[in-house]
């Protein structure tokens, strides 16, 4: 029973935190632009409004299921990562899978989104999906190599094991023990968050908003909540992998907040790559960095 309560609270908390972080990032971006920006609760208001609009447009079965796929993928990732170390209630279902299962499920959510957007039949959505999948296959490579380097170095594939191995002080965090793999993973984090210079999927000036072009009202509301959940899940995963996990709730909030601000700040000051530039960069730079640490731990 306690576990079910914990799961429900985790999902609601992650959703609220994701939406709030989205609102804060909009304000921060506006301030960097010299604007006042929206209120931090703007994403909650947008989601509520979208949920109360009529939904008379749909394009087939996959179009309906895509937001559900995304939310399911996000929830699975969220529940498989321990939130607070030592607090076994917040471990949720982290016993159920290792880091590779989490990486697979991260892909599953994005794939559902891609199928739904393809089903919508809008040319911009299809272009965005092909860009997104191409880019995903390039950053997944560097991220996976970085994860393998860390897992081999620590001799465990369990996320709990990876977190527990970083509890001997700040210098035992993986970002210091595996600096090159961490750099590769952190570069891969930018396209994961669709941040510039890798924001080729949403690319407002070319393919107005990419995959969700045909999505409206409740569908879009679910998309937003999926994105907020997914964002929080990825933040917690990265905090667990590289930054020593969180020993209490405040530490979790502070670490995820700071990590979230990294793509926001980078995104505000960079222009966008073209598709081939983005993919070429991701194939070479972060992959090479991650490989350095992998070779080091293999030797």
């Amino acid at each position: 029973m306690g576990n079910i309560v914990s799961i429900v609270l985790t999902i609601l908390g992650a959703l609220s935190w994701g939406l709030l972080l989205g609102g804060i990032s909009r304000t921060v971006t506006a301030r960097i632009h010299g604007r006042m920006g929206p209120r931090v609760t703007q994403n909650f208001i947008d989601m509520w409004k979208l949920f109360k609009k009529t939904s008379s447009i749909h394009h087939g079965g996959m179009f309906w299921m895509a937001p559900m796929f995304r939310i399911t993928g996000a929830i699975c990732v969220l529940l498989m990562v321990p939130l607070v170390i030592g607090n076994s209630i917040t471990y949720n279902m982290s016993f159920a899978g290792d880091i590779f299962l989490v990486i697979y499920i991260m892909f599953f959510g994005c794939l559902g989104m891609a199928l739904g957007a393809g089903n919508s039949g809008h040319p911009y959505a299809v272009i965005a999906v092909s860009r997104g999948l191409a880019q995903m296959s390039s950053y997944e490579l560097s991220f996976s190599i970085a994860v393998v380097a860390i897992a081999v170095g620590l001799k465990t594939f369990r996320i709990e094991g990876i977190v527990e191995a970083q509890q001997a002080g700040i210098l035992s965090w993986n970002i210091f023990r595996f600096p090159f793999a961490s750099a590769g993973a952190l570069i891969a984090f930018l396209p994961m968050q669709m941040a510039y210079p890798f924001g080729i999927v949403l690319a407002p000036q070319e393919i107005p908003i990419g995959p969700p072009t045909e999505y409206s009202s409740r569908f879009l509301s679910f998309m937003f909540s999926g994105r907020a959940l997914f964002g929080t899940a990825k933040l917690i995963l990265f905090v667990s992998l590289l930054f020593g996990g969180a020993s209490n709730w405040i530490s979790l909030l502070v670490k995820t907040f700071l990590l979230y601000m990294y793509p926001v700040v980078v995104s505000s000051v960079f222009p966008r790559f073209r598709t081939e530039q983005s993919i070429r960069f991701l194939w070479f730079v972060p992959t090479s960095l991650a490989l350095v640490d992998l070779i080091r731990v293999m030797l």
Partner: protein, 187 residues
């Protein structure tokens, strides 16, 4: 995608929940990025740091699917009317129209032109008019404030009026669009 069914007449909603919904609608107005006339030029500065419409929760959307507001930005040519009708009908309910400039009110400087509509609300339900030729961005923001107040008070009901009086609007639209090839209602 077309839908050949006539729209159902919307019911009247009241109560505390509807007030909360209206607050959310008023504070999150997404505008279809679509310009019909010279007023579209005056909309661009709204996104910049000088005027910053995002502080009111107003954002541009590239598709009518996701928008709440359609801005008729200045004169509306007879050829453009058909496209505007399609865009308006694809916006999901509730939806609002802001009409900019004298041209939408009485034709303005094009009052005797053969290809410009004179009184917009014969063809589409306008919720807020913003006068001027062209209205400055400050005036447009003032128009948005008025629309937000109307939505909060539950008075921005143009979309309901349009559905309830579809025959009246269609009759007027068909007088202008002689090569009518649209279905009864399209979303």
């Amino acid at each position: 995608m077309y839908c050949n069914q006539r729209p159902e007449k919307p019911g009247v909603k009241k109560g505390m929940l509807e007030k909360i919904n209206n607050m959310a609608r008023a504070n999150s107005l997404w505008v279809t990025a679509y310009g019909t006339g010279c007023g579209a030029i005056e909309l661009r500065p709204l996104g910049t740091s000088r005027f910053d419409m995002e502080r009111f929760g107003i954002a541009m959307r590239p598709t009518p699917r996701q928008a709440d507001v359609l801005i008729i930005s200045g004169y509306l040519a007879t050829k453009t009317l058909k496209r505007v009708i399609r865009v308006y009908e694809q916006i999901q309910d509730p939806k609002y129209i802001i009409a900019l400039g004298s041209c939408t009110i009485n034709g303005g400087m094009y009052f005797d032109s053969y290809n410009t509509l004179n009184v917009l609300d014969k063809y589409l339900p306008v919720d807020v008019y913003v006068m001027g030729c062209m209205p400055r961005p400050e005036a447009v923001i003032d128009g948005f404030s008025l629309l937000m107040q109307k939505i909060k008070d539950g008075r921005a009901q143009g979309w309901k009026h349009y559905k309830e009086n579809l025959d009246y609007y269609r009759e007027n639209q068909k007088k202008i669009i002689t090569d009518w090839d649209l279905p009864d209602y399209n979303w």
